[in-house]
């Protein structure tokens, strides 16, 4: 059983791509070999900045011979059919096919195709070029003289050499000959770029690893990490320090070196005034170095740890001092940013940053970040009572929540957005809940992220996400398929989780409406007018138009007059009219205005966005173990209280497990099925049930029970007591059964039949206040 060693050596591969690339290489090669009829015992991938390596053990030396029979047409079939069969089977004439007889089919042709097995080396040589040429790099490039030719090789960085060695244990190995873009396979590689630039000839994996190690290359990334961890711990311990661990940084650093050597450096102690997060990020992002702290303490020390790629002949002194110089320069910038921000906050507060939000475009059709913040603040104020927050606090928190985007610090480190905002708000002396909202209003970011619970944060977080969703829906930039550039699914899931996990029973419909109103009327410039046309053609007849700037509504704007179910046009007013604030001048000659864009009517945004929320809720509930048929049974296109839906699903689930539940389901289904079948046929159903037309006790009993059950259920639903509602409805089981068992619904008398069907519909309507039972399985 031979082993196969593959090395693809190239110029430095980006650290973040190496691990995945080596895994891809293993999968592509082993899949291709298995597809070609080989098996193997084990495979392991390795990588360094300059090579991807695959160690494949126990490969079968040859694929098995394959004999394949293919049945053809009868011998007397039309010539065309026979010719087609021969061509498909790769035969030249009928003589090469066998003739067989079958009692059913008679005499027919059979092609016997024999595929002899192939040597592993042949297979490797035939599959490898394709794998290399089509390698799934996230970004690839062309290079060198060959790049002038069409279809020249693309690789992450120039590919330099290929080792492909095959051989049985303890025996000589052979180079598997193939060529990719002029690079022929061989058995030569190179060690460390500076320590061991000479060529190395290898035979198999064992001596390959050993020779590389001797040439200052540690092949295994996990070992490089272990070396860094151990050396770092020793160096730190000797100074009474400990490393602030960072797995992601360790992974990156281990893939930037072939020969890891950890060294300590020092930066100016006065930089320790900068917040520790900022120090850590500066040193990590810009210099790929670790920070340290005193053993058992939380405060950082002014020592950092770097990992070099060489054993320097001065022991690393120059390297450490060179790195320290750069770290100091970076921290000097960071300190400058921090102090500039502090100065701004202490002297002028958030206002200069808030003002600048007007200069940052959020989206061409949705205005600036400043517009967005004004909308969110107004919306947060509206939402505050619903979530138990103080309206003034919610509005104020929303106004400052995004101010830090214009701080120096966030310009430099965008990943600190929110965290710095909170810090600055605390320094400014904002209430703790207002400061916290600056950070927490971005949450939850994912399906497992913590959900804010403090009311002010909840109000701002909801407003933030709703504004995004409603805005993009209004300008028709919804997610499609896998494309969701504005992370709208995440925003909708965020709203869903905020409502459910804070047990907030609110109408999503009204949330969307509030946000839509903000989108219509919070426009930055006076010379933009919102027009709501009465008809869909032209703007001849206008019901309302509005100017809005800052917190000021133009005096003639009356929200109550707005007809939300009309399309909306946003037009640019003429310059001279921008500040007249006079409605009279605007009412004539609308064809003179330049149309900026149109928004769909609120009425057409709602159902679609609500359905989007339903989809997110379904995913969320299914992930938490709810039955999808129950979710479907509970949600209707108009359901807009997500908490109520969830409670109904829960109540329905536990109720169906009881006898009452099983009874109600069975009875209701029976009634509903009969009704549905007749409705399909177009049979007449009475407008309402007329007790005067009853002629059986069963009908009367059912009607009486129904009236009281309906009443009790409606009262319970009102209180969101879905279990109580269902218990009340369960009383229907016995009379429903008695009715359906003993009374014919489809009688000859049309009026009686229509009345009985109307009774069935009352049952469906009554149970429908809880769920659509026809959608429940079982």
């Amino acid at each position: 059983m031979p082993d196969f060693l593959l090395e693809l050596r190239s110029e430095e591969i980006p650290a973040r791509m190496q691990r995945k690339a080596a895994g891809d290489l293993k999968k592509l090669v082993t899949d291709a070999l298995v597809d070609a009829g080989l098996t193997y015992e084990g495979a392991r991938e390795y990588w360094t900045p300059r090579r991807l390596t695959l160690d494949l053990r126990g490969l079968t030396a040859r694929s098995a011979d394959i004999k394949e029979e293919r049945k053809g047409p009868r011998t007397d079939a039309p010539e065309k059919a026979i010719a087609g069969f021969l061509r498909g089977a790769g035969l030249e004439s009928v003589d090469q096919a066998e003739t067989r007889t079958d009692p059913k089919k008679g005499e027919f042709l059979v092609a016997v195709i024999e595929k002899p097995g192939r040597d592993a080396a042949d297979i490797i040589a035939s599959v490898m070029p394709g794998i290399i040429e089509n390698f799934p790099w996230p970004k690839s490039m062309r290079w060198g003289a060959k790049s002038a030719q069409a279809g020249s090789l693309r690789w992450v960085r120039p590919l330099q050499s290929i080792i492909a060695l095959l051989g049985v244990e303890n025996d000589e190995t052979e180079v598997v000959p193939f060529e990719v873009s002029g690079i022929a396979t061989g058995k030569v590689t190179y060690g460390h770029r500076f320590h061991a630039p000479e060529e190395i000839t290898v035979r198999r994996f064992d001596d390959y690893v050993a020779k590389l190690e001797a040439a200052n290359v540690v092949l295994d990334a996990e070992r490089r990490k272990d070396i860094i961890r151990a050396d770092a711990a020793n160096l730190a311990f000797a100074k009474g320090l400990e490393l602030v661990e960072d797995e992601a940084l360790l992974e990156e650093v281990a893939n930037l070196v072939e020969w890891p050597v950890a060294l300590l450096g020092e930066f100016g102690a006065d930089y320790l005034d900068i917040p520790p997060e900022v120090i850590r990020l500066t040193i990590k992002e810009n210099q790929k170095c670790f920070v340290l702290r005193k053993q058992g303490e939380t405060a950082l020390s002014n020592t950092f740890l770097l990992v070099s790629n060489i054993d320097a002949h001065d022991g690393g002194t120059e390297i450490a001092s060179g790195n320290a110089k750069v770290v100091n320069a970076r921290l000097s910038d960071a300190k400058f940013f921090w102090e500039t921000d502090l100065h701004t906050i202490e002297t002028e507060g958030f206002q200069p940053w808030i003002d600048k939000l007007d200069n940052v475009t959020f989206h061409a059709k949705l205005g600036s970040q400043g517009d967005r913040v004004r909308r969110i603040a107004a919306l947060a104020r509206e939402l505050a009572p619903l979530v138990g927050a103080d309206p003034d606090d919610a509005e104020h928190a929303a106004k400052i929540a995004k101010a830090d985007l214009n701080s120096q610090m966030i310009y430099e480190f965008p990943e600190l957005q929110g965290a710095m905002g909170r810090k600055y708000a605390e320094i400014k002396g904002e209430k703790p809940e207002v400061a916290a909202a600056a950070e927490l209003h971005y949450s939850p970011l994912g399906p497992t992220d913590d959900v804010p619970t403090e009311p002010v944060s909840v109000a701002v977080a909801l407003a933030d996400k709703l504004d995004t969703l409603v805005g993009f829906w209004a300008i028709d930039e919804k997610p499609t398929g896998s494309k969701d550039p504005y992370a709208l699914r995440r925003a909708a899931l965020g709203v869903t989780r905020l409502l459910l996990e804070n047990k907030l029973s609110v109408s999503v419909f009204s949330l969307i409406r509030e946000s839509y109103i903000q989108h219509l009327f919070r426009r930055q410039a006076w010379n933009e007018i919102v027009l709501i046309p009465l008809c869909d053609h032209g703007y001849a007849s206008i019901t309302a138009f509005f100017f809005y700037r800052g917190d000021e509504v133009a005096p003639w704007a009356k929200f109550s007059e707005i007809d939300y179910d009309r399309r909306v046009a946003v037009v640019k007013a003429k310059e001279e009219e921008a500040d007249t604030r006079d409605s009279a001048t605007l009412t004539s000659g609308l064809q003179d205005y330049e149309l900026s864009y149109e928004l769909p009517s609120f009425g057409s945004v709602i159902p679609d966005l609500l359905a989007f929320f339903h989809d997110r809720l379904k995913v969320y509930l299914r992930d938490s173990g709810a039955r999808h048929d129950l979710i479907d049974a509970v949600i209707t296109p108009a359901s807009d209280d997500l908490l109520a839906i969830t409670r109904r699903v829960e109540a329905l689930g536990s109720f169906l497990d009881t006898d009452d539940g099983a009874n109600l389901l069975a009875g209701t289904k029976r009634a509903v099925n009969i009704l549905a079948a007749e409705e399909k046929k177009g049979t007449g159903v009475a407008e309402s049930v007329d007790p005067a037309m009853f002629d059986t006790d069963q009908e009367r009993a059912l009607f009486t029970t129904l009236e009281s059950a309906e009443h009790c259920a409606a009262e319970a639903v009102e209180k969101q007591n879905y279990e109580g509602a269902m218990k009340a409805l369960a009383a229907l089981r016995a009379p429903v059964d008695a009715f359906l068992d003993d009374v014919m619904v489809n009688v000859e008398d049309d009026a009686v039949r229509a009345n009985r069907l109307a009774l069935m519909r009352r049952i469906r309507d009554a149970t429908g206040t809880v769920a659509d039972f026809s959608k429940i399985a079982g």
Binding site: E11, S140, A148, P158, A329
Partner: protein, 316 residues
């Protein structure tokens, strides 16, 4: 000789690099005579990187980044600085070794200093250009950009050229071991003979910072931008065949000058803070359109591997 030693002389660093790259077959060119943001803008790189013809060049390019002005008060940041630029087309297989050889030539020992190739994808939206490569680190400091050009002026590079850009001041600060750019020894002289970088450039940094940030007349600049754009279009719209000479003379270079001018004026307007975020994209797109048109024009010239006579025949 200390005047030529990169360890004691800024000009020595340049002379050493000239000497090294001359020995490796480069034509040693002089800086381009217009204001540019980086060595890449020199037509010896931008235009010559296009087309099939081999090309090897090295030169120093003064580079201007108006927004980086700090009135001569920041030890690391300048609005005018020098880049050393090398372009090799097609990129040779040993480009990394050649580059490391140049570091050795200026006295950087790779067994004493930690040299690293760290992923850096290069992109110039105004030039419609991108490439893959690295920033080269020496003991954690970025000393060079190393790029395999894939696209320039919106045109595929065929073949691909390798571009090396050295930040000369940073490199000099490193090899001279000084912390402040203005302390660099420029000429390698000692005592009274010594001329520092600061003596030459600190005053001009102050002057340009003031002009860039506060005085440059934005209306004039906006007009310059429009004019350059218009002139670039004019030049390219001209009949390829010169009626006076009766043969094709495609004016790719004069057109490209106007493109460079528009690009620099845009940088100045940016420094003046009069360009909003949305407008910014618009301006960048306009310069990119010019650069694309210039790239196309260059490909039609002889140096670009085109056949100008073909259009002559066509015209005739």
């Amino acid at each position: 000789m200390s005047t030529h030693d990169p360890k004691t002389s800024f000009q020595g660093l340049i002379l050493t690099l000239h000497d090294y790259w001359a020995k490796h077959g480069c034509v040693i060119l002089q800086p381009f005579d217009m204001e540019v943001g980086a060595g890449t803008f020199h037509p010896a790189t931008t235009l010559r990187a296009l087309g099939p013809k081999p090309w090897k060049a090295a030169y120093v390019q003064p580079s201007r980044r108006p927004t980086d002005g700090r009135y001569g008060e920041n030890p690391n940041r300048l609005q005018h600085y020098y880049q050393y630029q090398v372009l090799l087309k097609p990129s040779p297989p040993n480009l990394q070794e050649l580059y490391l050889g140049s570091l050795a030539a200026i006295g950087i020992d790779p067994l004493l200093h930690d040299i690293r190739f760290v992923e850096d994808d290069w992109e110039s939206p105004t030039l419609g250009a991108w490439g893959l490569g690295w920033e080269v680190w020496c003991d954690g400091m970025e000393v060079s950009q190393f790029t395999y050009f894939q696209q320039i002026c919106g045109q595929e590079c065929s073949p691909v050229a390798g571009e090396l850009t050295y930040g000369l001041e940073r490199l000099a600060m490193y090899v001279q071991n000084v912390d402040d750019v203005y302390d660099l020894n420029f000429n390698g002289g000692e005592g009274e003979e010594r001329v520092s970088y600061g003596e030459i450039f600190q005053q001009t940094e102050r002057e340009y910072s003031r002009w860039n940030f506060d005085v440059a007349d934005t209306e004039t600049l906006l007009r310059h931008f429009e004019d350059a754009e218009k002139e670039c279009r004019n030049i390219l719209a001209a009949d390829p065949v010169d009626p006076k000479k009766g043969r094709a003379i495609v004016m790719a270079h004069p057109a490209y000058d106007q493109c460079i001018k528009a690009s620099h004026v845009f940088n100045l307007l940016d420094a003046r803070g009069v360009i909003s975020v949305t407008e910014r994209q618009n301006y960048i797109g306009r310069v990119r359109d010019l650069s694309k048109a210039c790239g196309e024009a260059f490909l039609a010239t002889e140096a670009g591997g085109g056949n100008p006579d073909a259009s002559e025949v066509e015209a005739a």
